[in-house]
Subunit: 233 residues, 6 copies
């Protein structure tokens, strides 16, 4: 997968947005690595490393995740004055999570109540439908609460990134230069410290980082969902 | 399943919430045991022992069950100022029960009438869909009544737990120290009596408590439903 | 199936409610037997014996059936100040019948018109869905008319039972003492006459009453629909 | 199928209602026979004999059919002050026809336009669903127009039967006496002429009337749709 | 298929309505033949002969088609003061076409946008459902626009036929006399010229017109959709 | 596939509309070729050649695509005062893209949130349904935003084409003369320069352009969706 310079730049700012929100919000898992080397469907990845195995998640933690997911799109808008389909996957995940916070975890103003009933396909044990068992009036309230979570996360990302413009630009620049930044390097870049000269990375042999990768579930990444045909009838 | 100290603490307060509401509400089955030893999907369990086999349930009994289910979430909020996905399963069960009280048992202001028609999968005799056979206007009323049951149960739990703050903290502390409390121990802790020194539990051999467990249907427990990926594209 | 004393008492009053409404409403089939001996899923049964085979039913007859069905729940409320899941099956049947009176028999204010179209499963000749072929505005009117039939039946049962409090209590007491009352005995109890001493019933050998039972379709009875788990996570 | 005297009486008045509307409305096919001898599911049948094979139907003809269908229920109400499930099948057919006049034949105020799209089951060539392809606002208009056709037909039957009370009673009486009336006899009864003495009918040998019956599609008749159980739990 | 004289008359006026609108509207394909000889399900057919193969259609052409389809029903109403089920098929096709003009071709006031998403049955490549992907508010607008196309077409047919009453009656009369009219004959009849004496048609041998018929897709014709049973229970 | 002269003319103006918008809007891929030689289902094709492989698309790019798609219909209206079914495919694609911009890419006023949940057919991995998981109120907002994108694109095409009337007419004329125009020729025609004399094209041997065609996904083209039958019953 070969990226044009323009796409590389957008990707660098996009990932820098994720990374800076992750670095500065409370209740965030620590950053592990940021890269703009495409892998699978993803043009870039920002990885975090949970401190411990979690079995439950607090509302603070989930709101932070939403803000981190929004960071990529916000960076595109604030720094490049653009808006790409690359954020589609982030937005989809964020919407799904916000919906769960409202409809499954009872974390919104609608209170400790669940909405919708899962319908499983019997032979496959796979959920195929979310059965709607509430009124249209309730559906309106659910939409409002999902929207509220998304909006607050977006505004949080805007606040963080517009307050740290230089840091974000530095991360994006460093990514364009080095393609990969580890936890220590990101920290240094954010603080405005000089990075040591880049050591040429040895050829990838499946070692080192790959092992860690097994622990980390890589994000499916950017799926534009459209392939504009070059011909118009 | 290894819990972090933070999760253990949240679990202890969560179960203490269930237990204290169960101990203090009228129409409640007597407490049998409370534990924060994870079992299956559940991080902790509060068990009650019905006095007799029930074939029918009164509204009082069911309202009490709702309040007990709400106790876990309420304890998280009142004592730890947090809100976790761990209450998701409680909330789902409570919502389902409240809905049955309105739509199947005719126990709400909507009166002695049922709403919705079960649709069974013919070959499997398994209900696959709840057919909606009423107007949107009625759906609004149903939502309001379900909400009312959930709210009243939540407020009941708030009233009980905020009126017995010390007792709840004592139960949570005892759980963190001993991991399991039986009926007598819970009673003692609530009353502020000293517990006898903890006797080291013999290695689990499937005896004793396990037998009882066959009688008691263990609750499926906490299913967070999300697994936040550490990477954000 | 072993009932606790409390459940026996609720069942006795519940059946007494059915029986007294059946005995006192016009257009009712004559009572045949009332019992609180559990059979199948039912904790108790009130049986009526039609005078002749019916092929069609008048609105008066059906409204009377609705009132009889409501009698059980009403008795729980008026005499025991409780409300149990045991009436769930009565309410479901009454709602279904009221809906047919509105949507299939044209007996409500909506006039001689039918609503909804049955959808049969082709291979099994079994109705699987009630296709909705009317507007939301019409659905509101249908709900109102179904509710009206249910309410009138409920109020009729309230009027009958609160006007004959002593008779109802006598039936319930007699049921608790003898478990079964036949037509003559119910009549005597209602009129306040003394019952002859109870003759010990011979062991059941499948004879006598059982034969009659073939003619009478026993009602599926009380299906609580919930099995409150004793453990709360 | 044995009918009680009460059911026979209701059936006689019901069929007399169909017959008298059929005899007196314009655009009606001529009467052929009326009977209260049960056949299949039907307690009674009113047969008409089309003058010629029709391939299309005028609105006048269809409105007349609606009025004839309503005649049975109207007779029950006006003459016996009752309302039975026996009219359920008439009402269902009338509603279905009125709906077609609005949605398929463009005969209502909604004009020359169709509503709904048939969905056929592909392998069986059998229509299984009526796909709704219009707005809720349109659904309201459709309901109003269907209702209008049904109401006008009902009022037409009321006007005809209340203007000819003696004739209707004479038909019903004659049916109760003779069980079958042919075209000439109905005419005579309506005009108040004496019927010749009843000749004992020869045993049915599948001849005569049966042959005609092949031409006439007998109506499925009365399907009460409920079988009130004699026991109430 | 034998038609009564009444049905023949209605059919002749119906087809004359189609033919006269087709002859007089702009943007219409030229008439080829009109007949009231039943063929398949159709009681009569009006055939047009496209000047050339079309791959796309203009709005003018489609609006003209709508007006031609309406011509049959309009003739029934204006000249025979009746309204038959025979127009059901015309109305259905016109509605379907009007809906496509709004929802697929972007030809209405709703502008260049499509509504609804086809859902194909995968194994058969056959469209089975039109998935609704718009709001109720939009559904109202779509209904209005479909209605507008139908109304304008109906009014156009009314204007044309009421302005040429004599011509229409002449066509209908000629059809009743000759059963078939070709393009030249229709033109002559419209202009009020005398037709040459009818030459007896040779026996049909599958030649001549049949060949042409392969090019022309014969219309499925009149499907009344009801078969009023002569018996009413 | 043989086109009439009228259809050729409409096609030439239609493609000229696409081409001129593509040539003049910013953020557009460069034009490669325009042709009115039918291929497959398409009567004509306008091809663009992306500068580089894109993995993500900006909102500017997608808005430009919408405007190009609208160019064909706009040209029909502005220059030929007609509106054909030939634009149906363009409109369908544009609507689908606009909907994705709103519901999947978060590019509208509704913000960074997704709407609808894809439902895949499990055995085939093929999306069969778009599950609606939002309220009617939200559906109205979505419709408004989709409409806004379509309207703005349409107005953009109107502005461009009505500002360059002579250029458009020149492209259409050149297409009618030569049937194919390459990038250089389109540029020359737009600038009003004379084209060199047309060299007779060698017979197609599958070489040259065909190879390029593999890179370019040809558009499915015009699918009128109706085949007006020449006969009207």
């Amino acid at each position: 997968m070969l990226l044009s310079d323009e796409e590389k730049k957008v990707t660098a700012y996009h990932e820098a947005g994720h990374a800076l929100v992750a670095a500065l919000r409370e209740h965030s898992d620590p950053l592990h690595k940021v890269t703009i080397i495409p892998r699978g469907m993803a043009l870039g990845v920002t990885m975090q490393l949970p401190i411990d195995d979690k079995h439950t998640y607090t509302r603070d933690y989930l709101e932070t995740r939403l803000a981190i997911m929004m960071g990529g799109r916000v960076a595109e808008e604030l720094f490049l004055n653009t808006m790409t389909t690359g954020a589609g996957n982030d937005i989809e995940q964020a919407t799904e999570l916000a919906r769960k916070m409202v409809c499954e975890f009872g974390m919104s103003k609608l209170g400790p109540i669940t909405f919708g009933k899962k319908e499983e396909q019997i032979f496959l044990g796979r959920e195929i439908n979310q059965h709607r068992d509430f009124s249209e009036a309730t559906a309106v309230h659910i939409d409002e609460e999902v929207r509220r979570f998304a909006d607050e996360a977006y505004q949080s990302a805007v606040a963080i990134l517009s307050g740290k413009r230089e840091a974000l630009i530095r991360i994006a620049q460093a990514l364009l230069e080095r393609e990969v930044l580890d936890a220590a390097e990101i920290k240094a870049v954010i603080e405005g410290r000089e990075l040591p000269a880049k050591v040429p990375t040895p050829p990838r042999t499946g070692g080192g980082d790959e092992e860690l990768q097994k622990v980390l579930k890589p994000e499916p990444g950017r799926q534009p969902g459209i392939q504009p045909a070059p011909g118009t009838a």
